[in-house]
């Protein structure tokens, strides 16, 4: 296979790749080889993966080709490579969540989404780097490596699903999955110039997703087009008895309906939230936001003003609820059943030593914060109060989504920041989440879509928020924008750099 042929494969959409594998125009094996070759070139520089799976990927691809040769009908992701955030369990494959405490852990089962991907004939190609236990906004909290942004290797890819975003942007994979608790799919998608969907809470089973904050965690896809995002969402959504929050309400998204004009559709604009970010909001983001409003007007959407009066309390609410749930969920890492153990006298000494050595600083910070918020005397003032404010935030969204079919918000206050820029100040890092957290607390679906580029060539993403279990309308709005400005078609220089010549 020539470099040029590989190049043309890695630039194709997942939808086109699956169609070509189904028709026999390409084999799943050549598709897998093309992406593996691309990742061989760029992944060592970008440090996108914690564990690559080239041998099993080639075996899985050959199995897809054999199925086709045997006359079997192939699934919607026939032969399409997909990368998984390292907090999604794959049987027998190392799963660390970017943490030292799970070093060497190999889950004895597949996550529900992995079962669904396999039955759709997708090809798993690796486990991507992430902030430890999905806690972070830059992937710098990984205990193993710092992933680079494909558009500027001195910058972060965002987080916590930074590896999953960067690998799709770098054409190492046409698709990936991440998890979004407070923005961990949408924010890195924006920093890397790709699509990132946080489905409605309950749309996708979390069975086999390592838990962070269970009332917020949701698995979501990264892709390079609205259609590809819908394609993979349709595969992973649906009821699974092993996650009691998973629901059958998720409506499959009709890909052809995404092509419909959006004339008359109401796009709600909560302008006041931009002012909440104050000076932290980059002029380039504001300009992109205003340009998008004009673009939606041009294609016939109706722009309506909406208010989210309690959204300004979202960061404070989230940084009580999420750490509280995390402190409980992470109690299971005790050195008994899996992962590392540090012996230190008695059982309690072993627990404390194991957790002290196994967890990184941000995870410890959140366990301490969550334990504090849940502890006797503070529960009502912190955790319970935050849950009440959450009710107000959710009501804001449902009210706004009664007046509008979709909401348009920024997703990040700035384009990707420099590696090391915010690591010393946890609060400054948290404030970055101002636009992503509100929809997480509300449990409504939200999509980060590539909107434009700033003067330095960094991608800018914007966010659409939709009604519960109506991912399709949001994607239709994003598709309307994509038809006018296909920001995701621009390719980072590292992808096109001559063989071996990229920095």
């Amino acid at each position: 296979m020539s470099a040029a042929e590989n190049r043309s494969i890695v630039l194709e959409s997942a939808e086109a790749l699956a169609a070509s594998v189904r028709s026999g125009a390409r084999s799943a094996l050549e598709v897998a080889r093309a992406f593996l070759a691309q990742a061989d070139r760029t992944a060592p520089k970008l440090e996108t993966y914690l564990h690559r799976m080239p041998e099993s990927a080639l075996r899985d691809a050959e199995a897809v080709d054999r199925k086709r040769a045997a006359g079997e009908t192939l699934g919607p992701l026939a032969g399409v490579p997909i990368a998984l955030k390292d907090n999604i369990c794959v049987r027998g494959v190392p799963t660390t969540c970017g943490s030292k405490i799970l070093e060497g852990y190999r889950p004895p089962y597949d996550a529900h989404v992995v079962e669904r991907l396999r039955s759709a004939d997708a090809v798993l190609i690796g486990k991507t780097n992430c902030d430890e236990f999905a806690m972070g906004s830059s992937t710098e909290n990984s205990a193993y490596r710092v992933t680079k942004n494909p558009w500027d290797l001195d910058r972060v890819p965002g987080g916590s699903s930074g590896g999953s975003a960067a690998t799709v942007a770098a054409r190492e994979a046409p698709l990936s999955l991440g998890s979004d608790t407070g923005g961990s799919v949408r924010q890195p998608a924006a920093f890397c110039g790709v699509y990132g969907l946080k489905p409605t809470y309950g749309a996708v089973s979390r069975y086999g997703l390592v838990a962070f904050a269970s009332s917020l965690d949701q698995i979501g896809p990264f892709a390079r087009s609205a259609r590809d995002t819908a394609l993979v969402q349709n595969v992973i959504c649906g009821r699974d008895a092993r996650d009691t929050t998973s629901r059958a309400d998720a409506r499959p998204i009709d890909l052809e309906a995404l092509e419909k004009e959006i004339t008359g559709l109401r796009v709600g604009v909560p302008r006041a939230i931009l002012d909440e970010a104050g000076d932290g909001l980059a002029p380039s983001i504001r300009a992109s936001f205003e340009a998008a409003i004009s673009a939606f007007e041009r294609v016939g959407a109706k722009i309506v003003d909406v208010a989210l009066p309690h959204a300004k309390y979202a960061i404070a609410t989230y940084y009580l609820i999420a750490p509280a749930e995390a402190s409980s969920n992470l109690a299971r890492y005790d050195g008994v059943r899996y992962g590392v153990r540090r012996a230190d006298g008695d059982l309690r000494g072993m627990y404390e030593a194991t957790r002290g050595a196994g967890f990184g600083r941000e995870v410890k910070r959140r366990i301490l914060l969550g334990t504090y918020a849940l502890s006797a005397g503070y529960y009502d003032a912190y955790y319970l109060r935050a849950q009440k404010v959450r009710t107000l935030i959710r009501k804001d969204f449902l009210d706004a989504l009664a007046a509008a079919d979709s909401l348009l918000l920024p997703i990040t206050p700035t384009p990707a920041f420099k590696i090391g820029e915010k690591t010393d100040d946890p609060l400054a890092m948290y404030l970055n989440d101002i636009f992503s957290i509100p929809a997480s607390l509300a449990g409504v679906p939200a999509l980060s879509f590539p909107a434009s580029f700033d003067a330095a060539g960094l991608p800018i993403g914007l966010q659409l928020v939709g009604r519960p279990f109506d991912e399709g309308t949001m994607l239709r709005v994003a598709r309307a924008y994509e038809r006018e400005h296909d920001a995701a078609s621009r390719v980072p220089a590292i992808v096109t750099a001559a063989e071996g010549g990229a920095r």
């Binding site: 899996y338 301490l368 609060l427 948290y430």
Partner: protein, 95 residues
């Protein structure tokens, strides 16, 4: 909101989390800053507001039928144990 290192020690003990003495001041400062930031919620009137613990769209969590399901992963489950003794996870002496 200032947080004393003694508070850090207390909650670290509750969480069974060893914090190195040299790090205690740093965690105290970080927690103080974050708790100072979340103070803003105290200004909000939440009387009469029901807490949201889970967003479930009014539906009760769906439970699966209470049936015995085969689970034959004993060896796989034990394979990751830092220390095992036959079919048991082994821990330091408790009593």
């Amino acid at each position: 909101m200032p947080i004393d290192v003694s508070v850090v020690r207390k909650i670290a003990a509750l969480a069974r989390l060893r914090i190195e003495p040299a790090e205690e001041e740093r965690y105290a400062r970080d927690l103080g800053n974050i708790l100072g930031f979340v103070e803003q919620l105290q200004a909000l009137d939440v009387s009469g507001i029901e807490p949201t613990s889970q967003v479930t769209e009014g539906a009760r969590p769906a439970l699966r039928p209470d049936e015995v399901c085969p689970s034959d992963a004993r060896d796989e489950a034990l394979a990751g144990a830092p220390e095992r003794d036959g079919d048991y996870f082994k821990v330091p002496q408790v009593v």
